[in-house]
Subunit: 432 residues, 2 copies
């Protein structure tokens, strides 16, 4: 077996904690913008434009005493095939440009409640849904600060960069934890997790559903029962999976399932969401020093009103409601099938082009494909030339830079969009 | 003197911490939306519409393989005179509807850097500017977790609800602190602060520039020197003041000056900003258990690239850049004068209508006016009838509900907008 489980115990003060892990959806290297500029004042640096933007004047609107000139940029060339933030469709952007009432209005509460209902449907859960005025990493941190008490030990199961980020968070709070680390490109294995859980008592287990850095989908259907049997709480980071791959929260007994909006939900970044079980809420009450901003109890105080304790990005909640409605309308199974189909198309393209797929077979993500650079091409150049043609894919993550490249196929993308990309990539591979 | 300084020492575990303080810009009571709906699926609850929305079709755009129908709602009736989130102008909303590149692109970095430069100008500082993928409360919490070590005591100077919120945060982290509380409607007094600072050593002092709940502007020009003399760091919550009233960060030696976008900057809520001094950064390095999401050191790691460690709401940064440009274009002194003029107009209207101004003279905010209900009107009804006419002002905050009402005059509002409101309020006072 290829597994290299690595268990290290850590209980540290976070003075000078190392936190050099990169952010979700991080794209290495420099890129060239194609999105125009809005400010009337000069920047110290000049922006680079590599592609023109189709502009469409929307005329003049009078409001109050002022007249505003409005125009909207519709990019006809550039397409994001990124593992988030992803391409946001013009209709979603248009929703964000609508006038909103405040976050304390009944108008907002109704919208928030509707998001809760739609998310329960998408996540197959009856658990409480929370929206957060922060990113997915905020809910990752909330899981650590709310669900690991001072006498508890957490188990972090890591298959890549975002598994490691979770341990940086735990270290930053001086929490006691062990890390079970699997080789990059391999999925977490239930039997190894079981072995660890039998050896020691853990209060909470933390794991990624979909590891964005390697394109691995962890077999939660095998892992969740093992964790539940141990009596530990289970927190799942589904940031780059939710809305692209089926995840049955209640069936698996996931206590906290967290995600962001800028991945499969195809909404711009800025807010996060999670489902939370009664067990997790009960546990949270017993844990000290939970802080305020990420305290589940503070978040729960506003839950009956379908509001957030701090001022959430209302236009993004509006866009989320809109997109969730579109997903339910398309049909969740159809949406998952579409993602699965785009993933298979991508693997076939890669194999036809002489590339191998980096993540192990049977555990590959439907939302992002990590392609091994066994042909030894100049990945940075490949990415750059594609960008100049208006297509953004991304280099490998961290140590995998140059050794892999990643293609996101999530959110609003359709099989036809993938075909379009494959054609351009084939052409580009000949050129470089 | 009317002062009632109240000093209480607290060092508590945060198990079951009380965190019932309301959010910034919170609006009491239920409101009726006027902003339409976007989702294609049914909500369990029906939304209420009290006003029609002017709709303007923007036609059809083709992108990729899909065709999206876009329409934009332009509210011609409803106007927000709230202390945040405030009215967002259509041109700002239009900026948010533009296609964006990712938060790791050079396009984003240039935009972020431009925001830094413009904010330095607005804040009269050369300190590092940080943007946060969270709200102003997030930076309030960051000040607590980064600038109070385990042997430190913090001093929280409170003149209302947001001063108290800061102590809830400190309690949530088990930090040791004292609170110096002034009577609602009174400003903090430098001599009282000096007295406390001479009695005991404090690592950091926390204070509001503008207290949204009472409409008090604290005299930081008197308080800051007293704090600096004591050797303590000074953190200022300028959430509802920045961009509406002059605050010279470097002149006053403010170590962390934090704000949000949904107040005077007239951008939708969702991101926050602060300036941070070298002293504060040095202090942060020595403090343990700073966590991750709100760790100044983690935020600083991405600062040289003009990026954020987690995925910030890119469309909101774009709107912020646009609005900051407009403020600089109008002229910062002119913007402050406009706010000051609108405040004076509001006080005059109130006095002419037989109301007193709640906050003490000489320390009144230029951005939000709290009007005392000495006429004993039915404030809830007054607010409701105004809302039905398309004007949102807000009831008093917390215990001041019914005893006061608040009128926001910040952001994009102009003196003519205030005159319009005064006319409607006069008419409404006769009717109710």
């Amino acid at each position: 077996m290829d597994l290299s489980p690595l268990v290290a115990t850590s209980l540290e003060s976070s003075v000078g904690n190392s936190a050099g892990i990169m952010a979700p959806g991080m794209l290495p290297g420099k890129s060239h913008g194609t999105c125009g500029r809005d400010s009337s004042t000069s920047r110290k640096k000049t922006r680079h434009f590599s592609l023109g933007c189709g502009r469409s004047s929307l005329g003049l609107y009078a409001t109050g005493t002022s007249i505003y000139s409005m125009e909207m940029v519709v990019d006809t060339n550039m397409k994001l095939y990124t593992p988030g933030p992803v391409h946001v469709a013009p209709d979603t952007l248009a929703v964000m440009s609508k006038h909103c009432d405040t976050h304390r209005s009944s108008w907002y509460s109704d919208m928030h409640e509707h998001c809760e209902n739609l998310l329960q449907e998408l996540m197959f859960t009856e658990n409480q849904i929370l929206l957060g005025a922060f990113t997915g990493t905020g809910f990752m941190e909330a899981c650590v600060t709310n669900l690991l008490g001072k006498d508890d030990t957490g188990l972090f199961v890591s298959v890549g960069a975002f598994g490691k980020r979770w341990t940086s968070i735990a270290r930053g709070h001086g929490k006691e934890f062990d890390i079970l680390e699997f080789e990059m490109g391999k999925a977490a294995k239930a039997d190894k997790i079981k072995e660890i859980l039998e050896r020691k008592e853990y209060a909470t287990v933390f794991i990624q559903f979909n590891e964005t850095s390697t394109g691995i989908r962890n077999p939660l259907e095998e892992i969740a029962p093992v964790v539940k049997d141990s009596g530990a709480l289970l927190c799942v980071d589904a940031v780059s999976g939710l809305g692209g791959m089926k995840l049955e929260v209640d069936e698996l007994g996931i206590d906290v399932c967290l995600a962001s909006t800028q991945k499969c939900l195809a909404v711009p970044p800025g807010i996060a969401l999670c489902s939370i079980s009664e067990h997790a809420l009960e546990k949270s009450k017993t844990v000290g020093n939970r802080g305020y901003y990420l305290d589940f109890m503070v978040l729960m105080k506003k839950a009956p009103k379908h509001q957030t304790p701090t001022t959430i990005a209302v236009p993004l909640v509006r866009a989320l409601e809109y997109k969730l409605g579109k997903i339910i309308e398309e049909g969740v199974e159809q949406v998952f099938d579409r993602h699965s189909k785009m993933a298979e198309m991508t693997w076939k393209w890669a194999n036809d082009a002489g590339f191998e797929i980096f993540p192990e077979e049977g555990h590959r993500s439907s939302t992002v494909s990590t392609i091994a650079n066994n042909r030894n091409i100049d990945v940075a150049k490949f990415v750059k030339v594609l960008l100049d043609k208006g297509y953004r894919i991304v280099n490998g993550y961290g140590d995998l830079k140059g050794k892999t490249f990643r293609i996101g196929h999530m959110g609003d993308l359709q099989p036809d969009d993938m075909e379009e990309l494959f054609g351009v990539m084939d052409e580009t591979l000949v050129e470089i």
